[in-house]
Amino acid sequence: MISKRIVLHFPHRLVDQPIVYKLVKDYDLQFNILKAYVTPQEEGLMVLELLGKKENFDKGIEYLQSCGVKIQPLSQDVIRNEAKCTDCGVCVPICPTAALVVDPHTRKVLFYDNKCIACELCVKVCPTRAMEVHF
């Protein structure tokens, strides 16, 4: 079994079509929707946590790509601008998945992007706007 967090970009022509349900029906994958919206340009964006057998997972991804869905691993989406971060730590209690934590020795803020679900709560809370979204 593998579990991965991925970002799906649906082009305009796919926005009104049912696609994700096939991951369950045909590929026996479990999914958890972390975020979903349609942009003003009418493109769909969905952040999913996908869980299933490795071979099913790969086939599911292949299916999505064959439909024209662009796939991106989640960790590339929310990044920290290291030059702007002051390591204050005001983001830490806001982060729902403990992707942002204070190192007890250095008192610097650590960002575990593998834990990030791209909820973006930290982005506007950051006083120096060091957290950036790159969808």
Partner: protein
């Protein structure tokens, strides 16, 4: 034990012993206060947090023909500056924002750009757009001025912050069932988080709680350069309740500080945006404490565990001016990442960067050791506990 003059002799000759306000804690624990007081000449402190009562004044030089900004208007990158002075002196406050900023009309406002950001951009070396209007006089005929300005070309550029360096600060929580957006950050409903804002055991005024060495004229690390304590800060409140160790249990003393902006660095003066609240400036300050006797040394060795502050509800008590504490916690508890408020475990967040405060204390230590930073004797004290100086609320009176 030793005088500031003697310490300065040692700095010049080499061999001065300087430790940070963290290192002194370990030294006293291992070797005792008496030994430490004999060995150590200076303890360095540091703090790095958003400080709203900050700003800078500039003299931009006279245009040809002349213009008198006094009584007119002036904007720097659309951010209004105060110009109620003579012809070309202006003051830019850290929280000023452009007139067309959406403020909180779309709540919570983002406040992406304000006076603090202009100050940081000047330090980066960028050109800033100046747009000014005036009514025109016989000696200053011009009515309009639009030009780019650059920090290096200004006659004077002086950071002058009227309240910085708070000696202790509240822990902010939210008891309501709605998210609130404050100068203490975003506070989640029903005690979702607890935000604090102090460097604790590294913070300048917490290491000299009775202002025995820090006074008017004290030379300090300011925004990456050198500055001075100009006065007590506004809202200076030395008479709040204190623990037996002298540490105030609530926000107390403050400092007004001043220094030449041209020698400061953009890493230590950072334009800051508080969601739903406003724009401001994050300021780095470090103050050296000369160890003149064992008592002064003992204060510098006070630890996070011994520094207490109050938990305040920012949904009702704070905005309504109701003096009410939900309890007292120390900085070791706050730094552990969670505290208990009304029986609930609440995660904590700091608005003030402890790691940057540590860097400032280290940087100041290194400047003193290298002989680049001599200490100054204060020319006058700031009001202390005995002064009766207090911070009063406004008594409103009807205008008849």
């Amino acid at each position: 034990m030793r005088t500031i003059k003697e310490i300065n002799e040692k700095i010049k000759k080499g061999g001065v012993v300087v430790v940070t306000a963290e290192e002194i804690i370990d030294l006293v624990r291992k070797k005792g206060a008496k030994y430490a007081a004999q060995e150590v000449d200076v303890v360095t402190t540091g703090t790095f947090g958003p400080m709203c009562s900050s700003g800078a004044y500039f003299n931009i030089g006279h245009s040809k023909p002349r213009i008198k900004l006094g009584g007119g208007t002036c904007k720097l990158n659309d951010v209004p500056a105060y110009c109620g002075f003579a012809a070309v002196d202006i003051y830019l406050g850290a929280t000023a924002i452009p007139e067309d900023d959406p403020h909180n009309k779309v709540f919570p406002g983002e406040f992406k750009y304000g006076g603090g950001h202009v100050i940081q951009e000047l330090l980066v070396g960028r050109d800033i757009r100046l747009e000014a209007t005036a009514y025109g006089t016989d000696c200053y005929p011009r009515k309009k001025l639009e030009t780019l300005i650059n920090l290096k070309d200004l006659n004077e550029a002086v950071l002058f912050n009227i309240r910085n360096c708070y000696q202790n600060y509240n822990v902010a929580v939210n008891l309501s069932d709605k998210m609130i957006y404050t100068y203490m950050g975003v506070l989640k409903p029903k005690l979702g988080n607890a935000n604090y804002c102090s460097a604790g055991q590294l913070s300048p005024l917490l290491k000299d709680p009775y202002y025995k060495t820090i006074g008017i004229g004290t030379k300090i690390f300011l925004g990456g350069g050198t500055g001075y304590v100009a006065w007590q800060g506004t809202q200076h409140n030395p008479t709040v309740k204190r623990k037996d160790n002298g540490i105030p249990q609530a926000p107390a003393g403050t400092l007004a500080v001043i220094g030449d902006l041209k020698q400061m660095k953009p890493e230590w003066l950072i334009g800051t945006s508080m969601l739903g609240y406003g724009a401001t400036l994050t300021v780095g300050i470090g103050v050296p404490i000369p160890i003149l006797d064992e008592e002064i040394l003992k204060y510098t060795a006070i630890k996070d565990e011994e520094i207490y502050t109050q938990i305040v509800d920012y949904s009702t008590s704070y905005p309504q001016m109701i003096s009410e504490s939900l309890g007292e916690v120390n900085y070791a508890q706050l730094k552990s990442g969670k505290i208990v408020v009304q029986g609930k475990e609440v995660p904590t967040g700091n608005l003030s960067s402890y790691s940057k405060a540590r860097e400032i204390a280290e940087e100041l230590k290194s400047r003193i050791k290298k002989g680049d930073f001599l200490l100054t004797e204060p020319v006058a004290p700031i009001p202390g506990v005995e002064s009766g100086y207090t911070f009063k609320a406004l008594k409103e009176r009807p205008i008849v």
